[in-house]
């Protein structure tokens, strides 16, 4: 049985990488907006957000409930869903930490990009298991926007 798949345009993935480079050596974070349907889950837009963990931004990030509500409102206004979150791990692997696990909910997609010495490296996506015991890896499928024929 194949695992979950997250589709995302290469351009959006590049924006996540650029955000991680921009905030390096601090963690970046943002919301994933898109659609979750029986046919699959796809990111259609991003909402970059400020990392509110001013005390330890090199290895922690926080999105406040007010920013979560802003992301939900933005999704509603654009007729899409808030389907997950992204953040960077500066000079650390793109794997969820124990701290990530303790602060996660199932269903959401969690994209992590490893930024090593200001260079984006591995990018992974994860979903928390129902029992909260760990994560399942989610395959990232990069899609290219098809050119509009005028």
């Amino acid at each position: 049985m194949s695992g979950p798949v997250l589709k995302i345009e290469s351009q959006l993935l590049q924006r996540i990488h650029a955000h991680g480079v921009e905030t390096y050596p601090h963690e970046c974070c943002g919301a994933l907006l898109g659609r979750d349907a029986d046919s699959g889950r796809e990111v259609t837009d991003l909402l970059p957000l400020a990392n509110r963990r001013n005390d330890s931004p090199r290895n922690r990030f926080e999105v406040t409930p007010e920013d979560v509500q802003l992301a939900e409102k933005t999704a509603r206004e654009n007729h899409v869903d808030l389907i997950g979150w992204y953040h960077s791990h500066p000079d650390a692997p793109a794997r969820p930490s124990e701290f990530d696990r303790e602060h996660a909910w199932p269903w959401y997609s969690y994209i992590i990009v490893s930024v090593q010495q200001r260079q984006p490296r591995d990018t992974t996506s994860w979903r928390l298991r129902d029992d909260r015991a760990g994560y399942d890896s989610e395959q990232i499928e990069t899609v290219r926007r098809s050119a509009t024929a005028d």
Binding site: E27, C29, R53, S56, N59, R60, F61, E62, V63, T64, P65, V68, Q69, D81, L82, W85, H87, H89, P90, D91, A92, P93, P96, S97, F99, D100, H103, A104, W105, P106, W107, Y108, Y110, D130, D131, R132
Partner: protein
Amino acid sequence: MPVKVMIPTPLRAYAGKQESVQLQAATVGEALSELTGQFAELRKHLFSDDGRLRSFVNVYVNDEDIRYLQRDKTPVREGDVVSIVPSIAGGA
């Protein structure tokens, strides 16, 4: 009192796929207790093993954060809307 509890999208799978649930409760604590009594699978995503609301789980009555009211003893009245909103946190 009949109050409405809004279920966030990630947790709807554990609440009969409902966007909201109508409950009888006099306080926020009673509402959450009633909610997790009806939908036991919700409990571990809202509360830690010691029974406390998880640190990243925020609860609002209408638009007011219960941390600035009376926390789980915050009274709810007919027509109030209780919302569950996460903070998103993590890191390397």
